[in-house]
Amino acid sequence: MTMDFKQIQELVKLVSKTGIAEVSLETEEIKLKVKGSYNPSSLQVSPSPQIVMPQAMPTMQAPVAQSEAPSTASTEKQAEPNKEAAPAEDNSNLITFKSPIVGTFYRSPGPDKDAFVKVGDDVDQGDVLCIIEAMKLFNEIESEHSGKIVKILVEDASPVEFDQPLFLIEPK
C-alpha cells in the first residue's frame, strides 16, 4: 500500500479533528506515526486500531507529515495540553478577563465615540472596559482588576459567549 503526500495530510487532519490520541501505520514502503494534540477534557476515544503490516521500510519518514501538519497536531513530542488563544509570548502572570454574560461586544460607548480602553492603557478595578449588549440592553462591563491592558482578544461588534476571554491584563 502506497501513500501519497495528500493521503498523509488527510490522515493528519483526521487525527487533529477527531481528537484521536495516536495513529500508527506501517507498510512495506512507509512507517508513519501521527500523534494528536492532547486535550485532557475532550472526548476519550477507545484505543484506535493499529494498522500494522510486515516489513516496514523507512523510505518515507514521519518528518514528512510533521512539516505539513496543522498547528494542533504534534507528531514527535509527548502529547501536550492544547492551550486556547495562547499568545506566543510568556503570559503566565497575565489575567484573562472573561465575559460574564452573552451578547455583542462593543469597545466604545457609541459608534462615533472613542474606545473605553486600548492596548497599553492602565485600568483600575471598577473601570468600564467595554459594553456587552443583549436585547437592546447595554451592559457596561467593569474590570475586576487593576493593571495594564496587554491584549484585546475580541473584535468590535462581535458576538461573545459566557466565559469567553476578552482582555489580557497585566496586574499591578
Binding site: S41, S42, L43, Q44, S46, I101, V102, G103, T104, A134, M135, L137, P159, V160, E161, F162, D163, Q164
Partner: protein
Amino acid sequence: MFKKILIANRGEIALRVIRTAKEMGIKTVAVYSTADKESLPVRFADEAVCIGPAASSESYLSIPNLMAAAEITNADAIHPGYGFLSENEMFADVCQKYGIKFIGPRPEHIRSMGDKITAKETMRKAGVPVVPGSEGLLESVDDAKVQAKEIGYPVMLKATAGGGGKGMRIVWNEGELEKAYSSASNEAKASFNNAGLYLEKFIEEPRHIEIQIAGDQYGKACHLSERDCSIQRRHQKLIEESPSPFVDQALREKMGDVAVQAAESIGYEGVGTVEFLTDKHKNFYFMEMNTRIQVEHPVTEEVVDYDLIKEQIKLAAGEPISGKNYFPELHAMECRINAEDPRQGFRPSPGRITEFHSPKGHGVRVDTAAYAGYVIPPYYDSMIAKLICKARTRDEVILKMQRALDEFIVEGIKTTIPFHKKMMRNEQFLAGKFDTSFLNSFDFSDLPD
C-alpha cells in the same frame, strides 16, 4: 418553516430536538453551561453558545442569557425541551415580544394550565370531569379540616405551583392533617417559592393515565391515545407504557375525546398531555395538563409511528393538523435509567461513566446523551438514558426489555437498571395489575446485578 432553532435545554432532550431539526433541514444552536462543555448536544449542533456557569439559575434558567444567545446566533425559534423554562410563562412571553417563536403553547395557555387550581376550574367549566377538591387555595389548617371533612378522607394535600411530586402529602384522617399541612407547605415554598396548597380527594387504586394531544393554531386538536405512567416512586415516573393494560378501546375513545375537548376549549397550541387519574371503576378525573413535550413521549412515538418533536415544530410554524386521532398499533414500554443507587434509597450517583454500551436490535430504542468517558455533572437531574422497547404484544415487549436491560452495560456509576430488571420479572407487573401505590410495597433490597 424556521431556519434556525435554539434549544434552551441540555442532555438527552436537547439531542432529541437537534436530531429532528437536522432531519428537517433546520440549523441548530445548542446552549450550554460550563459544566456541559463536553456534552453531545454541543458537539452535534451546528453552533453552540456558552450561556453561564454550572448553576441552572445562572445558565439554563437565565432568560437574559438565553435571549442574548438567540440574538447573536439569529435563531428564529426556541425549543424549551422539558423542565427548566418549558412551562415558564414569562419566558414564552419574552420570546413572543422579541419575535422569536417559542416552540410550545402561548403564554396564556401556560398560565392557565400551570396553576393547578385554575386549570381544574377551567376544565370543570369545559365539562371535563375533575377530581373532587377544595375551592381554590386553602386559607389555613382549619380551612383544610373543614374542606377535608366535606370531601371525605382520604385526601391529598397538593402544592398549586407543584410538579415532580413535591409539596404533596396523603392524609388518611383528621389526626394527620396538621402535620401534613405544615410539611407540604414548607416543601412547596422551598421547591417553587409558593407555599399555596389545595386539597383533593385521594382516589383509591388510582392509575395515572395520560392522553397525548396536539393542537394547531386554528383551534383544532387531536389525540394520540394514552400512556400508563402508574409505576412511580415518590410521584416520579419510572416506567411508562402504551397502550395501558387497564384501558380498553371504549375507555380510550372516551378519555381521548375528553382530552381533545379540553385542548380545544382553551385553543391549545402545540403538543401537550392531559393527565387523568382512573379509579377501579374506570371513572376518570382530570388531574393536570402538561403544556410541553414530556420525557416519556417516545412511548407514543413508537406505537403510533409519529415524530412528536417534528409535529411540535410544524405546529409552531403554523401548519394545520388533520384532526385525525391516533390509536396504538403496537405495544411499547419505557424504562427511565437514572444515575441513582436503587439499593441505597435511590441516592444520586454522579461521576465518570467508564464503560457505556446501550442495547440495540429490533424494537429497541435508547434516547441518551451519555457515552463512555462522560462525566455526569451533579448540578442537574439524574436521568441518563431512556430505554424504550416495542413489539406486537405486551408480553413480547417485556421479554425484549429483559434482554435489553441485560445488554445495558454502564460502569463507573450506579444506575437503576437492577430495579428495572426486577420489575420486568415481577408477577403483578407482568399481569398488568398495578396502580400508583405499587412501589410503596416493593422490596428494593433484593435486586439482581
